[in-house]
Amino acid sequence: MMIRRLLSGMLLAGLVSTASAGEVRFTGEGHAYNPVWSLDGKHLAFEVNNYGDRSDLHISVVTGEIAKDASKVNLPGGGGPFGGSQVVVNPAWHPQGIVVFEGSNTGGQFRLYYYQPGGGAASEMISTTDVPGDITFPAINPKGTSMVFVADQTGNGDIYTRDTNTGAVTVAMKTDVAEMFPQFDSAGSKILFTRKQNNTEDIFELAVSTGAETPVIGGNNDQSRPNYVNGGIVYFDNSRDSQSWDVKVVSGGNAKVLAKSVRLPLRARPAISPDGNWVAYGFEDPTKSDSIMLSRVDGSKNVEIKTAYNACGEPAITVQNGKTLLAYTALPSSGADYRKLFVVDITDKLQ
């Protein structure tokens, strides 16, 4: 009784919201993971992983909470009825509405592919002549003038950039250890990345023009998957406990915890709103797993988005025609076989 009153009070206060969500349907079986909105919020790319022989990329056209049935993206040579297994993951959108992602056919190397929603097969983004080996972690600067990625042709993950206007591929950083998760800042002048060294992952920033590297944050275990937000950098951190992840924000070398024991997405960075003011996450705690939480990055406000589903996670936020949309994946019921993808309008929740 006490709990119900408390919940009612929170609902009235607008701190807890229950939102009805539209499901993004797709063909095939598998868990929906890693939704990524296009910059205009009209397309939603996500992975469907059957934990077997394939992980596919699907794209849906979204209008408000209404999502069209998603269509699968085929790698070259993988579209026919006898196409082999493919692994297609880690989508990133260009402002021109083109999605870039990692892809591998039947256990081959991971290469970068691109696809423009509308039909046809994906095409290879960077030829093996330009950059051989595995290419991963694509990210594109907000203006679309440059793309950053990681290539392992030296045996370690090094950071490369591709200039959109010239098509030139350049080594931005080459070291003897592995760099990961590169990400441009809004001006495209800095690249955020992590480096795995001595079994610990730390966050660094690279000045594109000079190549100068600046440590951002380190510590026990891993500080991983950084993302720029207003006034700082948000990231996942498991320095407190190697088995649980916190969401932290670092600014000027000072880190603070935004949320503890969150559900770590399969491969996504912390989900942030397009204005960089909010970060979204789900919880590991089963009692909280029917919600997606949004926190202002300055820690001033939290908004809980209650859902009708379980094990909510993998959030992604966009703004489409003035409406703020949240995509997330969840188990439709406790006994469900696969995680599904849902989209919900949360515009009024963030007022």
Binding site: I98, Y114, G119, G120, M125, I126, M147, T164, G167
Partner: protein, 443 residues
């Protein structure tokens, strides 16, 4: 029917039969060649040798055989890899007619959505570049533009598909590409369009030997100079009288100063080691550069031989200079290699000319006559006259400042140097006039 009639009837029947069969024979499919080429295309495609696939696909079309789905598909793939988007679209359309696969239809729809049809009708002799300031992100769209640029460079025109948006620029025409079934036509230059179809290596068109041709007419002023010979130049055709005078005069008060006694003689040492005087050729003294202004008139023609910037050509001119104060005249012919980057014009080449005239005074090494035998004559009173011929080099650097009735109005600095077998002549100056205008596209 008479015999003649039967023969005529047979000839007529044969002719009709031949006329009926001949087109069929011309269109016959070379099946063996088709199979061989299809096999080659398949092998080349496996090696990602798309230029080779494209070349063999062209040969395959010339077999006049009906192509199969796989051949159209591989042809489309090679076109895609080379940026030939419209060719890719046409080949995919042909493949779709044979087997309307869903994926093909989707690809065609995607091409129709993301590309538009453009025809740039330009001039093969004066080729404008196709520009897009911000290139698209997708590599195949980028390739499509780069292919169009290569076709424009090779032919001056382009017909095909380009990624939608832009803006694109050809010469002074700016346009955006929109999706749709119709070709948007952009006319630049004379808009004749290409004589050949296709592009890239298949579409290279000869631009001709001559890019431009036109007259040169310049007038200006400058300064002229001529250095005197350093030593005496002896007459090789001296008369006996002149040779008789070539004897040193010794033992007289004035002999020390005027041993040769005549202004046209020079003191030398003969083969026996004895002093001797020999007649010399009369020469004007030094003409200092800035003491002798001149007027300069140049006429001729210029022919442009290249098309890529900086354009180059050759010029031939006849030049007349009139030197004030010295009664000298110079007429030269000049053949020059011309380079014309932008509005500038540089010319350099050999020259050959005649310098003629007469005047007073002679060079210092000629003795002034102070003897009883010959009349006294001061240097300033001595007259010279004649002409000299010789070759040299001339150069000019100019800048186009205005367009004048289809010509380029030019101001240029010029310099020239010439030497005959006795002395050198040189000059500098500033002149203006017209040279041929080079038609160029902006950008």
């Amino acid at each position: 029917m008479s015999t003649t009639g039967r023969v005529l009837a047979k000839v007529l029947t044969g002719a009709i039969a031949l006329a009926w069969l001949a087109p069929g024979a011309a269109l016959a499919c070379d099946e063996a060649e088709r199979l061989r080429l299809a096999d080659e295309i398949s092998n080349l495609a496996k090696k990602n040798a798309w230029s080779g696939v494209e070349r063999k696909y062209g040969e395959l079309l010339r077999t006049k055989c009906e192509l199969l789905f796989e051949q159209y598909s591989l042809g489309a793939e090679s076109a895609k890899n080379l940026g030939k988007t419209y060719e890719m679209y046409e080949r995919l359309s042909a493949a779709e007619k044979i087997d309307p696969q869903e994926e093909l239809t989707a690809t065609l729809e995607q091409l129709n959505t993301n590309y538009g049809r453009v025809e740039v009708r330009g001039d093969a002799r004066r080729r404008a570049a196709l520009l897009r300031e911000q290139m698209p992100f997708a590599p195949d769209q980028r390739k499509s533009i780069e292919y169009a640029q290569s076709v424009m460079e090779g032919t001056g025109s382009f017909k095909g598909m380009l990624p939608i948006g832009g803006p694109y620029k050809v010469a002074d025409k700016e346009f955006s590409v929109e999706a749709g079934p119709d070709f948007e036509t952009v006319v630049v230059g004379n808009g004749k369009g290409p004589k050949t179809t296709g592009g890239g290596n298949e579409g290279i068109e000869d631009q001709g030997l001559i890019n431009w041709v036109g007259p040169i007419a310049l007038i200006g002023t400058g300064f002229f100079g001529s250095g005197a010979p350093n030593g005496p130049i002896f007459k090789t055709d001296a008369t006996d009288e002149e040779l008789l005078r070539g004897t040193p005069i010794v033992g007289r008060a004035t002999d020390a100063d005027y041993p040769c006694g005549g202004y046209e003689e020079a003191l030398v040492t003969d083969d026996a080691g004895q002093p001797a005087c020999l007649p010399t050729i009369r020469q004007p003294k030094d003409i200092s550069m800035f003491s002798t202004p001149n007027v300069d008139v140049t006429v001729g023609g210029e022919v442009g031989l290249t098309y890529r910037a900086p354009e180059m050509g050759v010029a031939a001119t006849v030049n007349y200079r009139r030197m004030f104060g010295s009664r000298l005249n110079q007429i030269t012919v000049w053949g020059a290699w011309v380079v014309r980057p932008g509005a500038a014009r540089f010319a350099l080449g050999p020259t050959w000319g005649v310098t003629a005239g007469k005047g007073n005074g002679y060079v210092d090494w000629v003795n002034e006559g102070q003897t009883e035998v010959f009349r006294v004559q001061r240097q300033s009173e001595a007259e010279y006259g004649g002409f000299g011929m010789g070759g040299g080099v001339a150069a000019s650097a100019g800048y186009g400042v205005i367009e004048l009735a289809g010509f380029q109005g030019l101001v240029e600095l010029h310099g020239h140097f010439q030497r005959d077998n006795l002395r050198s002549y040189s000059g500098i100056g500033l002149r203006f006039g017209i040279v041929p205008k080079i038609d160029r596209f902006q950008g």
